[in-house]
């Protein structure tokens, strides 16, 4: 599974970092999300799915390869 982050859509709410801190971080200057792992391991996918669901801007997608 591959994580896609649509950066211009991000509103810097930080919800993804709370849901999945291993996969997401935020830029220091403006809080926009940063992808730490484009292809996270299976053990991290539950957290990523949570991030996809709660992102207020619908800026994250999890896609089958």
């Amino acid at each position: 599974m591959r994580v896609e982050l649509d950066e211009p859509k991000c509103v810097a709410s930080g919800q993804c970092v709370m849901a999945s801190p291993e996969v997401f971080d935020q830029r220091d200057d403006d809080g926009v999300a940063v992808l730490l792992a484009e292809q996270p391991g299976d053990e991290l996918l539950d957290g990523v799915r949570e991030a996809v669901a709660i992102c207020p801007a619908a800026a994250i997608r999890l896609v089958d390869q």
Binding site: V11, A12, S13, A53, I54, P56, A57, A58
Partner: protein, 321 residues
């Protein structure tokens, strides 16, 4: 009922938490669920194509296994019969109902045509009329009006922004920040006029309360919203400035204080910007501003609401209140 962000959040939560029964999502608009905040920014500025607004891909929607009915408005609710009455004359039966029909823009009196900005179609209609040198008058310098004014100015339109309060957005961000925003608008060439009352939209522009006419080619009215609750008027639900509900976000009906959770438990809950009052998700009584700054209270209240109704379904016919 309602196929925007809150309705989508509700059905996704139900599926994620294991509900595998029939899920029907019905919306008045013909578009699949889309993101509204960019309407007054990237869409108005033609920076994004509108397909970028989709909250979920068609594949993601298919995976939810929904009975998705778009372009279908609700006209009534039959609580005893547990069915929503639809504009096409059919009825949609339910065991549990989530009300997420949202709000629509307030308008001004007067015979002149004025734009509002709530739907994708609204945004595209306004965008098509904006160009270099066109005169746009925006009534209301809240989030939406201020954003639209800034975008229109960026497109080269001559923009007048009318606001009844002495400082734009003072109630939301405080007078100090409001004055900074006012200065920014003036610096960019927006003719911001505060402390101005508006009487009507005319063929020639906007008539102010003192009788002055502000001429315009296009008028945008951005003076807040009203809840879409007319379809509930005859239902027996208590409707005020939105759907009145208890502290658990269950709708209130019939004699004062009686709740849906008692006796017949038709299980009707408001979610999103439809506004409920008195419940724990008090944030949903605040209209989501058209900004991209805060997490949407609409979607978070819908998730909580859906999660509760799922528990009702899985735990049998016990009272939820």
């Amino acid at each position: 009922m309602g196929a925007s962000a809150a309705g989508l959040a509700a059905v996704e939560t139900l599926r994620r938490e294991g509900y595998d029964g029939t899920l029907t999502m019905i919306g008045a608009e013909t578009h699949a669920p889309y993101d509204r905040p960019p309407l007054s920014k990237q869409i108005l500025a033609s920076e994004w194509e509108h397909d970028r607004l989709a909250l979920r891909s068609s594949g993601d929607l298919d995976a939810l296994d929904l009975d998705l009915r778009l372009g279908t408005a609700a006209t009534g609710l039959d609580l005893e019969g547990r069915a929503v009455v639809l504009a096409d004359g059919t009825r949609a039966a339910y065991d549990g109902l989530i009300v997420a029909t949202g709000v629509r823009p307030r308008r001004l009196p007067g015979e002149g045509d004025a734009h509002v900005l709530r739907t994708l179609d609204d945004a595209l209609a306004l965008r098509d009329r904006l160009a270099e040198g066109r005169r746009l008058v925006v009534v209301g310098a809240g989030f939406l009006g201020a954003e639209a004014a800034a975008v229109a100015r960026g497109l080269g339109a001559e923009v007048t922004l009318l606001e009844p309060a002495p400082v734009p957005l003072g109630h939301a961000v405080g007078n100090e920040v409001g004055r900074v925003l006012a200065a920014a608008h003036l610096e960019h060439g927006v003719d911001l006029r505060t402390g101005v009352g508006v009487a009507a939209v005319t063929e020639a522009g906007v008539r102010l309360a003192d009788g002055e006419l502000v001429e315009a080619d296009e008028v945008l009215v951005a003076i807040g919203s009203l809840p879409n609750t007319e379809w509930l008027a005859e239902s027996g639900l208590t409707v005020g400035d939105g759907v009145v509900c208890d502290e658990y976000c269950e709708a209130v009906w019939g004699p004062p204080g009686r709740r849906l959770g008692e006796s017949t438990r038709p299980g009707t809950s408001p979610a999103g910007s439809t506004r409920c009052s008195g419940c724990r998700c008090a944030s949903s009584t605040v209209r989501t501003p058209p900004s991209r700054v805060w997490p949407s209270p609409a979607t978070s209240s819908a998730r909580r609401r859906a999660s509760r109704s799922l528990r009702c379904h899985t735990s049998g016919p016990t009272s939820t209140t």
